[in-house]
Symmetry: C2
Subunit: 240 residues, 2 copies
């Protein structure tokens, strides 16, 4: 489990070697467990460490002064939740847990050493932040151009793909610990509308979604509805 990140990187680029594996493993200063619904880092804070999600669910969100919130991304095990704070330092958004999480801490001084000594690994870390950005762009495209129903279908498709990579899909379904209020915050719609949209996906026979568990009944139908094209997840260089 502790090599989750290395295995994820290796899947994209088989030329990473023992040296990189060890450097990553040694860059972890400690591991922590956080309860559900806890802010891990807040907007405007200046960071000296980054966090890798090893178990559980997390998200990032931004907020307006009047309290409106937007979930900006959802994270599954193997994701760096705030790697951007290594070069960028000051947070422009908040990172929070959605469930109980196990998290590995990478102090920036250790990442700095990697960036000085292992350019190839550094580019792979850079790449991780770029995949994040590609996902952001896809969400942006959805919020701007897809209907609420299409967006919801797209989110299900995306989470399904990303989770499948780390073995989080079982029996055509997966846990998704989001309340409908949070789902609304991710999709840019109200809680009430989120409820109706989930109901619509159910009525169309596309998903069964109950008690925080999503079961996909018709993946093709869902992808068709969502115009889902997984290219942006940059899964392509996966050999297996």
């Amino acid at each position: 489990m502790t090599d989750l990140l290395f295995r994820k990187l290796l899947r994209r680029d088989g030329t990473l070697g023992e040296r990189e594996r060890v450097a990553l493993a040694q860059a972890v200063s400690k591991r922590i467990v956080a309860e559900a619904d806890v802010d891990l880092v807040r907007e405007d804070e200046v960071c000296d460490r980054s966090m890798l999600l090893e178990e559980g669910w997390a998200c990032r969100y931004g907020a307006l002064p009047d309290g409106r919130r937007q979930i900006l991304s959802i994270h599954v095990p193997g994701d760096f939740v705030d790697l951007q704070s290594f070069p960028l330092k000051r947070m422009d958004h908040t990172v929070a847990t959605l469930s109980r999480c196990r998290i590995a801490i990478y102090p920036h001084k250790n990442l700095l050493r990697i960036s000085e000594e292992l350019p190839h690994l550094t580019r792979m870390l850079w790449l991780m932040t770029l995949i994040d950005a590609a996902i952001l762009r896809q969400w942006l495209l959805g919020l701007g151009q897809r209907s609420a129903l299409e967006r919801t279908a797209h989110l299900v498709c995306e989470i399904h793909s990303r989770l499948d990579l780390v073995g989080g899909v079982e029996g055509g379904g997966f846990d998704l610990p989001l309340t409908q209020a949070e789902l609304g915050e991710a999709l840019g719609i109200s809680q009430v509308h989120a409820n109706r949209v989930v109901g619509a996906l159910r009525n169309r026979g596309l998903v069964a979604w109950r008690d925080g568990r999503v079961r996909i009944l018709d993946l093709e139908g869902l992808q068709e509805l969502a115009s889902f094209n997984p290219t942006y997840l940059a899964l392509e260089s996966m050999e297996r």
Copy 2:
């Protein structure tokens, strides 16, 4: 003018030296001029070079199979429009010019050399892509939570700030070569609604906006309406 990028980086980090300046200058293989409304790189293409915008306006956009388009970012001189293609290679979106542009080409093999030899400069390039991502998050927050009017005001504030950095603001105003149809594609609203929203900003006495030129009449009012907080642009380490 050719040191636009170096000067921009220097503003964030004064420790860059002559070695970095020269490396950046030598990494340019050539400069090109592109006409307005030309696609510079298209979605799904695999790239072996990145482009720095030196003069003019460009944007990135994503599209759905049925033709709906979403402008994902707007670029001003000094911006790398597709630096992410260095580590990521395959484009997940299209880059297009909005006006006639002068562009410097950085072949990836030259960027690779920089990433092998100049870790500090590499982190600064990484940083550039992270600021892009922070801007994306702010757009996402806007599309999800801000009204069309607030989003429009926010876009004006953002472009104003970014342009001001490179000396593109004169007399409290700036050129913004977007048609209202394109503005709608950036804001996730229809062309007709874009027109009405611009009219509303005018009626409130916030901006004068005519013939592709925006004059800001009430910057504070605009920022207040937009809940604009420029932190995300990461301008902070600018000394002057």
